[in-house]
């Protein structure tokens, strides 16, 4: 029987990888989401077509399948090695959640009332000014609560990286369980609590954004 501090000190070794994957994935997926989301509201048919294809492919298949595909199939197929496994994980998670989040970007830009666009045309603002000063500031507020939800989803998705051999929290949990079978309830409960503690700031962020999202947005 291992004691609680004992188990904790084993699991904590994986914290670094989990947090690293989480932070890198959040950064990359946000960038992908903004680029893809803005491309989908573009007037260029080619741009919307290509991003639409990307979004549907990555939303249509499962993240875990993509993760395996990037880690086993990609090196075999094109002889591409992305260096460390961390980048494989970050790439798969970011492309997947970038696709999902681009839909929020697109949705909230389209949800800004048409009157706002008409007013900015009437005020003789350029297309760029219209986006920069009128549409985006309102759209961002609408995006944020959903964005917060997706950050929690990304956190949950980071647990998958143990399946391709990254040494994250769950990996150390599984290692510990394989040698201390009778401790497995404690191990997994502790893991769940650790994930929940990491999620708490993200939950608080989402809740705050939900109350903020209504402010400064034109209605109707």
């Amino acid at each position: 029987m291992g004691s609680l501090p004992d188990i904790f000190s084993t699991l904590v070794q994986g914290l670094k990888v989990t947090l690293l994957v989480l932070v890198l994935s959040i950064i990359c997926s946000t960038i992908i989401a903004l680029v893809a989301g803005l491309s989908r509201v573009s007037t260029n048919r080619l741009v919307t077509g290509v991003t639409g294809f990307y979004v549907e492919i990555f939303r249509g298949t499962s993240l875990i399948v993509q993760l395996f595909w990037f880690s086993y199939a990609l090196p075999g197929l094109f002889n591409i090695h992305l260096g460390s496994d961390i980048w494989v994980a970050v790439l798969a998670i970011s492309l997947n959640y970038g696709a999902y989040m681009s839909e929020i970007v697109r949705g909230s830009i389209q949800a800004v009332p048409a009157g706002q666009t008409e007013a900015s045309i009437a005020l003789n603002l350029s297309k760029f000014q219209r986006m920069r000063h009128i549409i985006i500031p309102q759209a961002i507020r609408m995006m944020l609560p959903e964005y917060g939800n997706y950050l929690i989803q990304i956190l949950k998705a980071t647990s998958l990286v143990s399946l391709i051999g990254l040494t994250d929290l769950l990996y150390y949990g599984n290692i510990y369980r394989s040698t201390h079978l009778s401790d497995s309830p404690t191990v997994y409960l502790l893991l769940l609590v650790m994930y929940f503690v990491i999620a708490l700031p993200l939950i608080a962020f989402t809740k705050k954004m939900e109350s903020m999202s209504k402010k400064g947005v034109a209605l109707g």
Binding site: E56, G60, S62, I64, Q66, K156, S182, Y188, L189, L192
Partner: protein
Amino acid sequence: MNWSWTVFFETIPLIAKGLWITVGLTLACYLFAAVCGFFWVFMSRIPSKIVRSIFGWIAEFIRSTPPLVQLFFIFYAWPVIPVVGVSLNPFVAAILGLGIHFSTYMSEVYRSGIESVDKGQWEASTALNLSTRQKWTKIILPQAIPPTIPMLGNYLIIMFKEVPLASTIGVVAMLHIANDYGSQYYKFVEPLTVVALFFLLLSYPSAILISKLEKKYNRKFDKKAVTS
């Protein structure tokens, strides 16, 4: 580039066998989650504030921790727990684990549906002296559930894509077959691509169907909202 069409076509029938297991498991998990979802709704309507917030936090806890860890907890840790612990077969564990995880999402959908029912409907059913049971079954739920159907459909697609997690506890569905084939012949590219294609083949048309449904319901219920 190591792509072989022979391997590709050879793995299609193999993985197609797993497709039905994936689909069946998805439906079973979904049914379980749909029923369990009502439990959370029920708990969130209990008059005691303490009970409400306790169950609120439990739901939040389940919702924001990884389903994979929950699955491992149910499959590996549950049997070890004294007195209540029983060994579960991978299928049951997957249905329980994913079902409970997604029930917390389903309850949010139900709740949004219930909250969207006009206040006048509640007052009217009280005024008409309907019992609590009648109020729910005849007035509230028939109006609360239909507008949420597109959302419920979306969760079905989301669950379909989460079900491959079950391969980690030994459910032999599409992903498991592909990985087995891969490690046996050291050919991962084709089987994994076939799995991805199958997912796309099923989830993309369903997503289109759902968005059509959504438009239809939006039209139907917005009208109602304006006139009421």
